[in-house]
C-alpha cells in the first residue's frame, strides 16, 4: 500500500507545488535574514508561518479524501479482495502522506542550519519546534485519514472545519508570538523539571490518538467479519491507565485527567455509535474459554456492547481517577455532579437516536449532528447567561440536557444546586443508557444463543437491528 501511495502521491501537483513553493520561500526568508544581519522577529514569524501552514494545512488536507476517493473510484473493493486488511490500507495511506511530509521537513533542515549560522536563533529550540510541528501534522493527517472513511460529505466537512480552526489557532498563536519576539507556546519550559514528563505524556497521547483515529477509519472500510472494536477499546483502557499513572511522575493532574477524559470520550463515542456485528467469525474467538466469553458483551463490535463497555469503563475510570489523582483534589458533590453530567453529555444523543431515528445507518453522523446542535444551544445560553444571573437554572428546565447542567453548575449559587444537578444528571445519564440497552436485548439474546437458532420473532428483531 505504501509503495502504491508513494508512487501516486509523489506525482501529484499538490505535493510538487508545495515542495517547490516551500523551497522558494525558505531561500527567500534565509536571504532576507542574512541581509538583515541576524534574525528578526518578523522574519522568524514569516518563516514559521509558511512552514507550519504547509505542515499543518497543506499536507494533512490531502488525507481528507484518502479512503473516500477509493470508495468513489470503485477501487476499494479491489483492494479489499487482496490480503490487505482495512488497518493496513489505512496505515499505508497515512504512512505515505507522512513520508511525503517527512521529505518536506528534511528538505528544509539545511535552511534551519543556515538560519543558525546567520545568527539569532536557538537551533535546539528550532528543532524541537520543527519536531512538534511534524508531530502535530501527523496527528492532523491521522484525523484527516481517519475521518475520510465516512462517506458523509457533511460530516467530513464539519471535521475539516473544526481541524482547520484548530490548526489556524496553532499557526497564528505561534507565528504572532514569534513575530513579537516571544518564544511561542512551547518556549521557555525545556529546563523545568516536569517538562520532559509532560512532553512524554503528550507524545504518548499523540501516538494513541493517531492509532485510534486510523483504526476509526479502518473500521469504516473493514468488512463486518473484521473486528476492530476489541483492540480499540482495550488499547484505550491501557492508554487511560498509563496516562493516569503519569500523575505519579509529577505530571499535572488537570492535564492527566483532560487527556484521559478525551481518550475515553473518543472511545465511548465510537463504541456507542458502532454498527453491531454478530457474525460467528467475530463472536467465536470470545468463546474459546468459558470465563473469557463474558467479555464479548463489552468488547464485541456494536453499539449494544458499547453501552456496557461505557458503563463498565466509566466505573473503572472513576475508580482509577479517584485513587490515582492527588488526594488534595476535591471530590465534592459538585465534582461528582460535573463528572456524571459530563458522561451524560456524551450519552444523551442516544435517547434521540434510539427513540426517533432507530434505523439510522449513519449513527455516528447523527450523533455528531445532535452534539453540534447541543454545542450551539449551550454556547448561546452561556452567552445569554452572562447578562442574566440564574438563567442557567431556569433554562435547565427548558433544555434538561447534561451540557446545560454543567454550565448551570458553574454559575448556580444555590446551596442545594450540586445535589439537584447530580440527581438530575444521574437520572438523565441512566435514561440515556437504559433506552439503547432495552433496545439491544435481542442482540444480547442472540450472542448468548451462539450457534443455536433463535425463535422467528427474536430473529426478526435481531435482523431489524442489524439492518
Amino acid at each position: 500500500m505504501l509503495v502504491k501511495e508513494l508512487r501516486q502521491g509523489l506525482r501529484t501537483n499538490l505535493f510538487t507545488s508545495s515542495f517547490i513553493l516551500l523551497q522558494v520561500f525558505m531561500v527567500f526568508t534565509v536571504f532576507i535574514g542574512a541581509a538583515a544581519e541576524g534574525d528578526t522577529g518578523a522574519i522568524s514569524g514569516f518563516f514559521w508561518f509558511f512552514l507550519i501552514t504547509t505542515l499543518l494545512v497543506a499536507m494533512p488536507i490531502r488525507g481528507f479524501n484518502a479512503l473516500t476517493s477509493e470508495l468513489q473510484l470503485n477501487t476499494m473493493d479491489l483492494i479489499q479482495l487482496t490480503r490487505l486488511s482495512a488497518w493496513r490500507i489505512t496505515l499505508g495511506k497515512w504512512t505515505a502522506l507522512m513520508s511525503q511530509t517527512a521529505l518536506l521537513v528534511i528538505s528544509i533542515l539545511p535552511y534551519l542550519v543556515m538560519r543558525y549560522f546567520f545568527g539569532g536563533v536557538d537551533l535546539i529550540h528550532e528543532f524541537l519546534i520543527l519536531f512538534l510541528a511534524f508531530f502535530a501534522s501527523a496527528l492532523l493527517t491521522a484525523i484527516a485519514v481517519g475521518f475520510s472513511g465516512y462517506r458523509s460529505t457533511l460530516l467530513r466537512g464539519f471535521i475539516l472545519v473544526a481541524s482547520g480552526m484548530f490548526s489556524f489557532s496553532l499557526i497564528m498563536g505561534y507565528s504572532v508570538a514569534r513575530a513579537y519576539g516571544g518564544s511561542g507556546m512551547f518556549g521557555g519550559g525545556i529546563t523545568t523539571s516536569g517538562f520532559w514528563w509532560t512532553f512524554l505524556t503528550f507524545i504518548i497521547a499523540g501516538i494513541y490518538a493517531i492509532y485510534f483515529l486510523l483504526d476509526l477509519g479502518a473500521s469504516q472500510i473493514a468488512p463486518q467479519a473484521e473486528n476492530h472494536s476489541t483492540r480499540k477499546r482495550l488499547i484505550t483502557l491501557t492508554f487511560v491507565a498509563v496516562i493516569l499513572l503519569m500523575s505519579f511522575a509529577g505530571v499535572e493532574d488537570e492535564l492527566v485527567l483532560t487527556l484521559a477524559g478525551l481518550a475515553i470520550a473518543l472511545a465511548w463515542i465510537d463504541a456507542i455509535t458502532e454498527r453491531p456485528s454478530l457474525l460467528p467469525s467475530v463472536i467465536q474467538p470470545f468463546e474459546k474459554r468459558r470465563l473469557f466469553s463474558i467479555t464479548k458483551y463489552f468488547l464485541a463490535p456494536g453499539w449494544h456492547t458499547g453501552i456496557l463497555f461505557l458503563s463498565a469503563s466509566a466505573l473503572v475510570f472513576l475508580s482509577l481517577t479517584f485513587f490515582t489523582t492527588n488526594p488534595a483534589l476535591s471530590w465534592s458533590l459538585q465534582t461528582w455532579a460535573v463528572i456524571i453530567s459530563w458522561i451524560g453529555a456524551l450519552t444523551y444523543p442516544l435517547i434521540f437516536i434510539h427513540l426517533f431515528i432507530p434505523n439510522s445507518k449513519q449513527m455516528f453522523g447523527m450523533y455528531m449532528l445532535i452534539q453540534s446542535c447541543t454545542l450551539i444551544v449551550t454556547v448561546l445560553i452561556s452567552a445569554a447567561s452572562q447578562s442574566m444571573s440564574g438563567l442557567h437554572d431556569k433554562l435547565f428546565w427548558i433544555f434538561p440536557i447534561p451540557a446545560i447542567s454543567i454550565a448551570a453548575l458553574s454559575s448556580s449559587t444555590g446551596k442545594n444546586a450540586p445535589m439537584f444537578f447530580l440527581l438530575a444528571s444521574t437520572i438523565f445519564t441512566l435514561l440515556s443508557l437504559a433506552i439503547p440497552f432495552w433496545r439491544s436485548l435481542p442482540l444480547y439474546k442472540s450472542m448468548r444463543a451462539g450457534n443455536k437458532p433463535l425463535s422467528e420473532k427474536d430473529q426478526f428483531k435481531v435482523d431489524r437491528l442489524l439492518r
Partner: protein
Amino acid sequence: MPDSSIPAIEVLNLHRNFGNLKAVDGVSCKINPGTVVGFVGANGAGKTTTMRILATLDYPTRGTVKIGGIDVVQYPAKVRSKIGWMPDSFGTYSHMTVIEYLDFFARALGFSGQDRIDRVTDIMDFTDLDSLSNRLINTLSKGMGQRLCLGRALIHDPDVLILDEPAAGLDPKARVELKHLIRILAEDGKTVLISSHILSELAEMCDSLLFINKGKIIHEGSAESLKRDGSGTTIIRVEIHGNKEKIAEWAQMSPIVKLKETLKNGVRLEVESVEPEVIASVLGRMIKDGLSVVEFHREERKLEDAFIDILGEIEAQEAKAAKPPKLN
C-alpha cells in the same frame, strides 16, 4: 485443482434487502467446478448484488453462500484467495502505469520477489498488455482497461472468476478479444460466472444460463434447451427456385406441416415435431415431390425471445395468483 465433488459456487435461499427493497429474494443455485455460467437479467434484477455477495463485498440479509465449500460471510479471507472479481466498472488510479498497477495488486496479494515478477509478466502476456506496460492507466481505452481488470483478477490464479458485465461498452473487436480470453480460461478449468446483457454472446461462451428477475432465479438451463421451443414444433424457413405458390400448396397437402408465413422468396413452415429425423424426412419429401429447394433452414428461437417468453409466463402466473377467486 479444486475438489470436483464440492460445488464451486453454492447459493442457498439468498436474500438481500435494502430497506424495503428486496434486491435478492431467495436465490438458490449450484455451479459445478470448471463450468461457465451466464447470469442474465434486466437492470435491477439482482445480478450485481448477488455477485457482490459471492465476491465477499456485500452481506446477505439471510441465506448461505459458499465458494468451494467455504462460507463467504464467515471466512471471507479464505474465499478471497479462491475468487477473481471483475466489477462492471472499475476505477483507475491517476499517475499509475499498467505495470505498476499489476505490481501493486501482486504485492497486495502477498507475492514477492521473482514470483511476483513472473506473475505480472505472465498476466501481461496473457492479456496482451506487454506493449502497454508503461502507459498510464487513465489513458487506456475501455477494451484495454477491461483486459487489465481481467488480468488483475487473475494474478493469484483463482479457481472461480466472477465477471460482472465484462463486455459492457466494448467495441466489437475488444468484445471478441475478451470472449477469446474467457474461452481460454474455461478450457483451463476455471469456474466462471459471467453476467451480460448480450445473450447471444453468453450462449457462445456458457455451459448454462441462470435467468434472474426481481431477485429470483426464474430459469436455469443450457442455451440449447432455451432455444428449443417448448411447444414441440420446429419452424423451418424454405426458399425454392421458381413459383413459390408451389411450396404453399405442398404444405397444405402435407399432414405434419403447416404454412406459418409467406416470405418474399419463400415460406416459413411449422413442423409438428422437434426430432431431427422428422425434419430431415420433410426435406426429403419436398425434393421427392419435385420442389427445387434452394434453402432449407431450421430457425432457432433467439435467447432474447426465450427470456422474454419466460418473463411473460412468470408474469401471467403472478397475475393469475393475484386474481381473487370468483364468488358464485
